[in-house]
Amino acid sequence: MALPRLTGALRSFSNVTKHEDYSEELADLTTKRSKLHAQLLKSDLTWKKIIKFVDDNLDKKEYQTVNGDLKTILQAAKQIVGAENGQEAIESGAVFLFKTFHGKECVGHDETKVIKQMFGPFPSSSATAACNATSRIASHFPEEQLRALMQLAEEQNGGNRVLFGKNIVFSFDMHDLDHSEELPVNGETDMQKNISLDY
């Protein structure tokens, strides 16, 4: 239920504001999720680039071990994204999992939240498999090499840009009512207290 607000009345009854229709926004969360999926497909970091990165930087013997882990991540992505969404969506999901679990030892609360936000409810065993596989792949590379790879994904998200107002001191203090034990408008209180019905 709408809270009783002065500005609510002003929005409804004055002509100084844009009269917005919010009814169409009921499905905004669904729209948002599909928009995020679309963004994921446009990421500069692709599954092919990850495979190429592994191929370029490892010898044949190591590559075969890592290749198994790459397949595990792809398989986990298939279960989390859903096979019906097509190969492109699955590969971008695999990139997302690789990026999410890079530098993580296990599937924590934050990782669960991030994956759920992107794909909705998912099988936790798939996430654990992807996390372990990512960890094993990462162990073959020096940290700087991996960081350079990850930057491909971050640049698109503006990860290295400066936030406006970063240094502004912000206060959470908000206007409130003056609390007092008695209302200040209690002219009659004393009088009422003095009345006694004890005859």
Partner: protein
């Protein structure tokens, strides 16, 4: 070469469809990113896991999107702000629904609390950036064009400005003063909008009186329907309705107080509508009625105490006559005078005026002080006895 304002800048870029080079104004809808902001909904009042989860998902989307927005370069930020309706609706939904300090206390999950705080800051910074026409030496908008942009696109309107004051004004007063001062300076039409809004504000007072079954001055002269004659008063209305009215009154008073505190220049517009007089007569009628209704119901919620507010002006000299006139017009509102005098002693104000102006009409001030004094006659409570919170 000096930098051009954003509204005069042209960008040359490759058309994503044809691949050919083209020139576009820097402020152009095609530059806007397809982001799709979601609407804000307040934290759930109860710790229902499903509701908490929905809040967290929604709030996280907004927090991420606002951080992305704040990190955009100047030109892209303004394209998004002007042309992305989902962003405008998202910001508006926050201002409408964000919890005020006096809203019913909710048992808040720590994660909800943290995310709400993060969102609160990001929303403020977004509005701060939107109210700034000169972000740096090289990034600016022609002031008159800035005034048109914010007004024509409803980036700011009077209800939004009032919401900003009540949500952020207490702790960020100085910044907010600059923001709102700049908005009104670059776009004086906001003064006309404020003027147009005042009758609705006064109507809110009338509506409260009407709901409490009280007569009010300036109320509609429409004939009353016979079935409306059933007398509903603050004392006998359903509890939820009474609670709503009290919260409505608290919100109204606190919002107006916050706004006038941040932007005292608005007092002149308020006065054009005899606001002080209307406020005093509203107070005289409504507060005693609501107070006794609350006492009658043993209403123990401390959060519903009412706020009294004043209009203050920094430059006192030109307003002395106005001060005297306002007080002369409210002298018959005895209850209002007593409560006002208790919170803001009239004698002190008069003493200040005497120091500020040697030409003060002493007969009139003596008359006012005498009236205030007589408002206290026959009342058991004495001046200066108000129980005040030591904090």
């Amino acid at each position: 070469m000096p930098a051009l304002p954003l509204d005069e800048l042209q960008l040359t870029e490759r058309d994503p469809k044809t691949g050919k080079l083209r020139t576009l104004p820097a402020l152009h809808p095609e530059i806007k990113a397809d982001r799709s902001f979601v609407l804000y909904k307040p934290p759930p009042a109860i710790r229902d896991p499903a509701l908490v989860e929905e809040f967290l998902e929604r709030a996280k989307f907004i927090a991420d999107d606002l951080n992305w927005l704040l990190a955009l370069p100047h030109d892209k930020f303004w394209c998004q702000v002007i042309f992305d309706e989902t962003l405008q609706k998202c910001l508006d939904s926050y201002l409408r629904s964000a919890p005020r300090k006096f809203d019913v206390l909710w048992d808040c999950h720590p994660e909800v609390h943290e995310l709400q705080k993060c969102l609160h800051r990001s929303v403020f910074l977004t509005f701060l950036r939107m109210s700034t026409h000169k972000e740096s030496k090289d990034h600016f908008i022609t002031p008159s064009v800035f005034g048109k942009i914010i007004y024509n696109n409803f980036l700011f309107d009077i209800p939004k400005i009032l919401d900003l004051c009540v949500l952020f004004g207490k702790g960020n007063g100085l910044l907010l003063q600059k923001m709102i001062g700049n908005i009104f300076t670059q776009q004086p039409s906001y003064f006309s909008d404020l003027d147009e809004t005042l009758p609705t504000v006064l109507q809110v007072f009338n509506n409260i009186l009407h709901k409490c079954g009280l007569q009010c001055e300036g109320a509609s002269a429409e004939p009353q329907k016979l079935e409306e004659k059933i007398s509903v008063t603050a004392g006998n209305m359903p509890l939820q309705e009474l609670k709503d009215i009290v919260l409505y009154l608290c919100d109204t008073c606190t919002t107006l107080w916050a706004f006038l505190d941040v932007f005292p220049l608005a007092c002149q517009t308020f006065q054009k509508h005899e606001f002080c007089y209307r406020l005093a007569s509203f107070y005289e009628l409504a507060i005693p009625e609501l107070e006794s209704a609350i006492k009658k119901r043993h209403y123990e919620d401390n959060s519903v105490h009412c706020a009294v507010f004043s209009c203050s002006c920094e430059n006192i000299q030109p307003f002395i006559e106005e001060f005297l006139q306002i007080f002369t017009s409210v002298l018959q509102e005895r209850r209002f005078l007593r409560d006002y005098d208790e919170l803001f002693p009239v004698e002190d104000d008069v003493s200040l005026l005497q120091q500020a102006s040697s030409a003060l009409d002493e007969t009139r001030t003596a008359y006012i002080l005498q009236a205030v004094e007589s408002a206290w006659e026959g009342v058991d409570r004495r001046k200066g006895q108000a129980v005040k919170d030591p904090a």
